[in-house]
Symmetry: C2
Subunit: 340 residues, 2 copies
Amino acid sequence: MKTGVRPSRRSVLASALLAFAVFSAPAGLVAQTADPLPSWNAGPAKQSIRAFVERVTQQGGADFVPVAERIAVFDNDGTLWSEQPVYFQFMFALDRLKDLVKANPALAGQEPYKSALSGDPKALAALGEKGLLQIVALTHAGLTVSDFRALVLDWIKTARHPRFDRPYTELVFQPMLELLAYLRANGFKTFIVSGGGVEFMRPWAEGVYGIPPEQVVGSSGKTEFVLDGDTPVMRKLPEVEFIDDGPGKPVGINRFIGRRPVFAAGNSDGDQQMLQWTTLNAGPRFGLIVHHTDAVREWAYDRTSHIGKLDKALDEAPARGWLVVDMKTDWNIIYPFEKK
Amino acid sequence: MKTGVRPSRRSVLASALLAFAVFSAPAGLVAQTADPLPSWNAGPAKQSIRAFVERVTQQGGADFVPVAERIAVFDNDGTLWSEQPVYFQFMFALDRLKDLVKANPALAGQEPYKSALSGDPKALAALGEKGLLQIVALTHAGLTVSDFRALVLDWIKTARHPRFDRPYTELVFQPMLELLAYLRANGFKTFIVSGGGVEFMRPWAEGVYGIPPEQVVGSSGKTEFVLDGDTPVMRKLPEVEFIDDGPGKPVGINRFIGRRPVFAAGNSDGDQQMLQWTTLNAGPRFGLIVHHTDAVREWAYDRTSHIGKLDKALDEAPARGWLVVDMKTDWNIIYPFEKK
């Protein structure tokens, strides 16, 4: 009886441990049986991603990259979620501007607020970087970091995209969510490196992308710390501290991450230097550009777009070996809500 | 026979899985049997650390903190390693200054370089923050980030501390190494948040402390990205970008980590605001001050020291409930080389 019981106990123990081991196995140890990228159509794009991940995780292989060095960086606007008709953070700023106008109606007559509030896409486009920054500065400054966070979370929960009438966080790219998860399952640490505001992305990036706040690099305004009685306060100041765009992206990567990535994904000329910094380096490296080619399911734009202009980086891609993903042909679904 | 073999196979499997599970277990799941803090003497300091870690990792307990929120921040100079007779980064800058003088002898006659090179401790002390920054700026700027990294690594390997005649990295505090490991074993993510230069710490922090580059926050100079032909270059500029000290520490924590820590350790007034930002918050929080009280094994200094001045934070500690660690009585060894 004793020996009859033991194996059974051991079997239970072994099963429990096996389940536990599978659950907690370091990335790469568990064989991938199911397709980790089901929203990617079979073809050279999907194939090259899988081949790269297999090469760099092959212990003892010539291209093996130790787990600590598996740093993957992703632009956000236009790469992980949509960015039309205008960066979603600007839609947030615009909604906040409307609230500010209620308290101070005179603002509505002043530029660039007047154009921004007109709702005219052409007027919006004409604002340019400077006008956008001015509106972001007005609507983001003077708050504490925690009040701002609360505003962002409230907006993310309640605001709806004008074309799709869905929360903005439903306009994330399903194939990119799969790519993030696939890389993480293979020991990569995934970072956002975005021109967007770091305080705007952090509140929801963990829930939506599985990327924790400490792995979000973005543009930032200055902040100051003050002790108000026994309450420490972190206040946002109306001064730009860092623009994490273009040549600012490798600078931000160096400052915040301190290692050169082995994988970078972007979609516009603002990502060109990040792609250069990542791929023009010894050892296996992967550069990916999301090309917006699907006017039906998403938007089609590149060289002349006022948002997400993709021109120089598109020209540079072939010589550098960057993968240009054609959304229309490479992705069988774009948004998670298209899943049947 | 069949039933006789099975248990044995299962037993081997179970053992293998058990070993694997222990190896890869998420922090906190494996019972701690051995003392994780052997270099800490039994007493209230050690007890309070252990009690805190047990409380916040107790699933279902009132003070449970989810793994994602277990952020622990550590000052470096004077908290993780010694800082006398002057911050070790300054010893590095001084050695580099000597090399620069060989190439440009006129520097030796100019202040503050003249005082710095005199070797007179009083002259060194008289340089003040401004003189030190000037020397650091001269000796650190104009290099690429990768050349600077190589210089740091070479210095870390070859330079020796004047009092102990040992590499500087042997002057790390064994009890703090144990504390870092203990926290990590319990699901904490450990960060350095130091007034020291981020580019100076990152090259060796992973090997010495187990803290990867992306978890090192520090002071920084500006950098610029340029593409030199097909070679991307990150160059250090002679402009201060950020001083991660005093009120700069919570600002740095907010910028780089984006969450408020639950555990902070420092040793000087430069850590006061980091301790406030960490501990003056809802939920269980721990603040720790390393008090340098051992003139025989290390150094004894606090309120009037030109390096690592501990005055206001020491006065504030009792009211805030910060643990003041007395190096002389709380630590049975200070440096790893004291181990028998």
